[in-house]
Amino acid sequence: MRSKKSGLDNTATPTGKPLTPDESLKEQGILSERAQPSRRKFLARLGIGATLLAIGGQTYAFIRSLVPNVLYEDPQRFKVGTIDQFGEGAKFIEDKRVFVFRQKNTFHCISAACTHLGCTVKMQRVNQPKKVVVRGREIDDQVEFACPCHGSKYYSDGTNYTGPAPRPLAHYKLELAPEDGQLVVDTAETVDQDFRLTV
């Protein structure tokens, strides 16, 4: 930006070189808008800025409206039945995609969603019960889980042992509902593989 104080004095510049008539006019802000630190420039920028802001704001509104604030989905916390409805071993709660296990008076709940890409794993009886060492402990495996999509397999405690699954099946928190004694699964809360609900 050139200095404004040169005014009508068109004979001298900071470098001492005389100005041509054109340059002199520019100096005075007559020829070029650019030389004018002007209201015009300010308003132009204000206009462009306001336009961008308006477009940005409305784009945000458009996209934000597509992120739901209320979900009309099944609740993540649900009842699966009273204790006496569960026999020894595993029961598949089909519409909730979870397995509920009972071992005498302890319960635990394992998700049926494969940790690879979310297909529903199938529980298979093992032909001959095998003893496997998982996480430093020997377990007597009667069943295992297998995923139909990409062939991952899990031991009965949910630990993955073959296929592309990167981690064990999720374990969910189990509670007893105080009002009617039903088992309550909370799929929003994952727990340790050793979690057991004792009743």
Binding site: L66, Y72, G118, T120, H150, G151
Partner: protein, 438 residues
């Protein structure tokens, strides 16, 4: 020449122009044809240079729009009624099976033909600039890649809509691949699904993407793709003609510039064409180009319609979130990815990386990046432009064909050699019978 032209005169064009003037007029003065040049080289028209694959994909897209419109009237994008409305299409709506079948077959063909078009462009080095000014073929290659990706997204969103088992589990796998992306993955999945589970929000989202946003994207990019072909001086094989001409003792190549003379100064909207010896190499676009265009269109429609009557569109059981079909397979053009996400879970130093991230995001992402970078790094000479298997690009073609072969092999493994629980079975091995429930 008559000065008054009826509306009908403006739409139709002559198939038997008496003079070159009439031939040129029928292109330039016609709205439907104005985007074509009035004269084309014989090479660009030849069947076995381009195999007309770009044209075929455009015709397939046209079929998809035309069949998609009535389907939009008949299909209800609601989780309660989507499956039943597709079933109605198959069994109660007059010719509903044909509309749905033609739409489906055209979609399958479009994926294949767009991919083959890409292969053709690569193997002929047609993404390279020749000698004419203002060419930007690499950009058009990138636009073409985007069109391929849009085609795949259109297929993916399309096969969710019947809300059958295939649809449901494809979308489960697809959106979980999205969620395996680091940091933004989970929120991306939430945004795609419109919630935590695949439900009504998901269906309507994919419906609107499928019927509005993605086709709009294809239309815009397709227009730009065609405009660039004209700006770049037509098909790449034309560059060879001008190159040959340069060698001979003829006068230097002129460049034709049409500009808005007198309206604006400087270089403005213009079309540049390489001038090749017109009498020797070019023919009038009407009827030579238009006739072939019609033949390709009719042929494509005929093949698609015939395939539709031969292969009825399947419809699996209604979507059931608690039972995954065994095996659960994506459509053939995604099976190489399904095979890839199966094989790419790695554990390095105690950290396990999900195959979904490597096979589903990183590898395809790198392929796209490599495909874009490639055309800007290719420094082979102009002699390799628009020539099948140019010897200057032999190594490049070998690398490219290796990748294509790998994709094909993975597709074949996924299609024919994977059985229940994604176990490997040779074609002569029978699959064990599976209980329907666990």
């Amino acid at each position: 020449m008559a000065t008054k032209r009826s509306t009908w005169d403006k739409i139709k064009w002559t198939w038997q122009p008496e003079t070159k003037r009439e031939a040129g007029d029928s292109i330039v003065r016609n709205f439907l044809l104005h985007w074509f040049p009035s004269k084309v080289t014989r090479q660009s028209l030849s069947w076995n240079y381009s195999f007309w694959l770009g044209t075929i994909s455009a015709v397939l897209f046209l079929i998809l729009i035309l069949t998609g419109i009535p389907l939009m009237f008949l299909y209800v994008p609601s989780v309660e009624r989507a499956y039943l409305s597709v079933k109605d299409l198959e069994f109660t709506v007059s010719y509903g099976w044909f509309l749905r079948g033609l739409h489906r077959i055209s979609a399958h063909l479009m994926v294949a033909v767009v991919f083959l078009h890409l292969v053709r462009v690569f193997l002929t080095g047609a993404y390279k600039n020749g000698t004419a000014v203002n060419q930007n073929r690499p950009l058009n290659w990138v636009i073409g890649l985007l069109l391929l990706l849009l085609t795949l997204l259109l297929s993916f969103t399309g096969y969710l809509l019947p809300w059958d088992q295939l649809a449901y589990w494809a979308i489960t796998v697809g959106t979980n691949i999205a969620s395996s992306a680091p940091v933004v993955g989970e929120s991306m999945r939430f945004f795609l699904l419109g919630g935590r589970t695949i439900d009504q929000n998901t269906l309507i989202r994919f419906y609107v993407l499928h019927c509005f946003f993605l086709p709009l994207g294809v239309l815009l990019l397709f227009s730009y793709h065609m405009w660039r072909v004209r700006k770049d001086g037509g098909l790449a094989c034309v560059d060879q003609l001008s190159l040959e001409q340069k060698k001979g003792p003829v006068e230097p190549i002129k460049s034709k510039t049409y500009s808005l003379l007198g309206i604006t100064s400087g270089r403005t909207v213009h079309v540049e064409t390489l001038i090749v010896d017109e009498d020797q190499h070019t023919v009038t676009a009407s009827p030579n180009l238009t006739r072939r265009l019609m033949a390709v269109t009719l042929g494509t429609v005929a093949v698609a319609a015939l395939l539709t009557t031969l292969f009825r569109a399947p419809l699996e059981e209604a979507a059931n979130p608690s039972v995954t079909p065994n095996p659960a397979k994506a459509p053939w053009y995604f099976l190489w990815l399904q095979e890839l996400v199966t094989d790419t879970t790695f554990t390095i130093g105690g950290i396990t990386i999900n195959g979904a991230l490597i096979g589903g995001i990183i590898v395809p992402g790198l392929l796209v990046v490599a495909a874009i970078a490639w055309v800007y790094l290719d420094k082979s000479p102009p002699a390799a432009v628009g020539v099948w298997f140019a010897k200057e690009r032999r190594k490049q073609n070998i690398v490219f064909l290796t990748v294509v072969a790998a994709i094909l092999i993975f597709t074949i493994i996924g299609t024919y050699l994977r059985g229940p629980y994604w176990n490997f079975y040779w074609p002569w091995q029978s699959w064990p019978t599976m209980p329907r429930q666990f």
